[in-house]
């Protein structure tokens, strides 16, 4: 009796284990994030009509859980065929050996050529001379500012370099001496500002083939102390805790400058209506000394193809489709995500948008960050922490950067070990 039970039990386990789903041919499983996933389904029918033998199945993944989900999927061998990846995540998935080198596909393609994309953005997808992703949409950070407050302080033009920005902020502060407000918002819990200004001052952020921190270098120190100066002179609130809602703060004139990306345009439009509607605009980042615009971050999402996919050709076809200027424009008009293909920017949809000029200028001047999987940990957990310590004057700038280097070196220990191992192997 018992034996029979056990037998049935084992057999049933066996059957459930073997009963993997046999999918019909040429179904591409595509993981997309947030609103992109919702809106891409409006474009997919066009592709499926042109390619009746391919079917695209979109899975929506929330941004906040995306990285975790993808890495878990990787660990359990359950990857989709393709995915949208924030381009700072590419190094992680390259180090996991999870995504395919697309160089050969690109060599044969008529649609996708490197020079059709913004240079700085394209570079974020290249690691060790291999191209791992095709930019889907781009973003970068520019200055959002209150025109009226600038004018009251006697400035009709956005600042063109660091000195002008600083002087402008001091003027605004003097002008609004009485009520509590700040000219600019440089939150210490957003690392982006510190990196942007570091790139502008020409700092090499990591050294020795990205295996050691280089934050105490002259370039980065200059940028870091420049931003901490705003905190010390009370020209900016410390962080997000003090400004729960940036849009409200901007509308109230509590802050006048905020450096942010294109995703905030609809939000600002929403919060600044009526009288305020024409009181704000965007401008490219001020430069270090004489160069204008200054550098900014090369952000955005790329499309990647997973090595485990069995439909690589079909996925490539879909990526080519998504890179067509007309499809890119359509995607822009539904999601507000900026096109990665330069040709799309000639359309009046973008040329006639007042807020877009700054982005177009800025996108010609973007620079990628160090492309290593540990980078996010260094900036998120360490840079932000020491920026806060320095801003609240718990540490001097020198101390903060020394500690930052120390922590970065600790995080990069494994990478140094791997690099040494690789070198030893090559020597032999």
């Amino acid at each position: 009796m018992i034996k029979k039970f056990i037998l049935v039990f084992i057999i049933s386990i066996f059957f459930t284990a073997c009963n993997s789903v046999h999918e019909t041919k040429n179904v591409i499983r595509f993981w997309a994030m947030g609103s992109e996933a919702e809106n891409i389904s409006k474009i997919i029918p066009v592709f499926e009509k042109e390619n009746p033998d391919i079917k695209i199945k979109v899975q929506q993944v929330p941004w906040t859980a995306a990285q975790e989900k993808l890495i878990t999927a990787f660990a359990s061998d359950n990857m989709p065929d393709m995915c949208q990846l924030g381009n700072t995540w590419i190094p992680q998935f390259v180090s996991l050996n999870a995504i395919e080198d697309l160089s050969e596909f690109i060599n044969k393609s008529n649609e996708i050529k490197p020079d059709k994309f913004f240079k700085g953005i394209w570079e974020t997808n290249i690691i060790d001379n291999k191209v791992y992703g095709i930019p889907w949409y781009v973003d970068t950070r520019v200055m959002f500012y209150r025109k009226d407050i600038f004018e009251n302080a006697g400035f009709t033009q956005p600042p063109k370099n660091w000195d002008e920005l600083y002087n402008l902020c001091r003027k605004i502060k003097q002008h609004n001496e009485r009520n509590e407000s700040y000219p600019i918002f440089i939150p210490t819990n957003e690392w982006s500002n510190f990196i942007i200004y570091g790139l502008q001052s020409g700092a090499e952020l990591l050294k020795e083939n990205n295996t050691k921190g280089n934050f105490s270098s002259k370039g980065f120190k200059e940028a870091f102390s420049y931003l901490i100066k705003f905190h010390k002179e009370k020209l900016t609130p410390f962080g997000m805790m003090q400004v729960t809602n940036v849009y409200q703060a901007m509308a109230d004139g509590y802050i006048s400058i905020y450096i942010s990306g294109p995703w905030n345009i609809p939000e600002f439009k929403n919060w600044m209506k009526g009288d305020l509607a024409d009181k704000w605009t965007t401008a490219a980042m001020p430069g270090y000394r004489n160069e204008y615009p200054g550098l900014s971050l090369a952000g955005g999402s790329s499309l990647v193809l997973f090595r485990s996919s069995k439909h690589k050709k079909e996925v490539w076809k879909f990526i080519e489709f998504l890179s067509r200027p007309d499809v890119q424009l359509k995607f822009y008009s539904t999601t507000n995500n900026l096109p990665s293909v330069i040709k799309s920017w000639e359309n009046k949809l973008l040329t006639e948008n007042v807020y877009m000029k700054a982005f177009y200028e800025q996108l010609q001047n973007v620079s990628p960050m160090p492309k290593i999987p540990e980078w996010e940990q260094i900036v998120f957990s360490k840079l932000q922490q020491y920026a806060e310590f320095a801003a609240r004057e718990k540490m001097t700038v020198d101390e903060a950067l020394k500690n930052l280097d120390k922590d970065a070196d600790k995080i990069l220990e494994k990478r140094r070990w791997l690099e040494n191992k690789k070198r030893r192997k090559n020597d032999r």
Binding site: I2, I71, G239, E374, L418
Partner: protein, 294 residues
Amino acid sequence: MIGNKSGIAFFFLAPALLAIAIFFFIPVIAAFLISFTDFDIYTLGNFSTIRFIGLKNYLELFKDDLFWTALGNTFLFVILAGPLSIFVSLYAAIILNSKIVKLKALFRLSYFMPVVTTLVAVAIVWRFIYHPNFGIVNYFLSLFGISSVDWLGNPDLALPSIVLMAVWKNFGYNMIIFIAGLQNIPEELYEAANIEGANNWQKFKSITIPMLMPTTIFISIITMIGYFQLFAEPYVMTQGGPLNRTLSIVQYMYQEGFRWWNMGYSASIAFVLFFIIFIGTMIQFRVQKYLSSK
């Protein structure tokens, strides 16, 4: 015959035992082994990059400032919130159990409401309550002429603010257990005390407190364990800031493990936390034994 019986017992227990083995013992043992390696994102991609590093994770941990900060914060939280929360729930339970209070069910329900409300929703509401410009706390303070306080942004006030919120959120659960404990105290004891002419305080001290001892020990253990695992409150309210003053040990573990994929390091944090909770529980059991033997 007996062997056969235990065979049947094992057969019926097998699904549960199997589930416990697969979902509890194997992961725990695996995590314990991982804590002696430098398992990280490179290892996920290529298993050959794993290095057995002995106790290095644990040694690093003891040199890690952030770990000590997190540990200190967690202890401070347990010390502040634990007794406060037990006291508040006992107080509420006694009031709700007394005969003079009307609408008991309504009060019980409303005190229990925060326990079942999603923490994320609660935390968002409390962020507004604590807001420096339009928070209601500062509004009340302003009536007394006290200028606005940045509750969650001030490094010295952030943790106490979270303590307050956590106590408010959790006391209802302990309160229900205390009410059950109070109702288990035989009425005759109080009647006898009344005949002896004891006053309320004497009755409370000599009947209620000793009779509630097992309940109190139980509550203090689960409260301690729960509070050592503080995570969601600071995660939603302050993300560990300002100046890492609200970073808890579990949040640090989560960050290291699931944000930066330093699995080895993160596992070592988990076992240190396990050890601390284990010792804390042992101490409480000893105290209970000592008290009951007296």
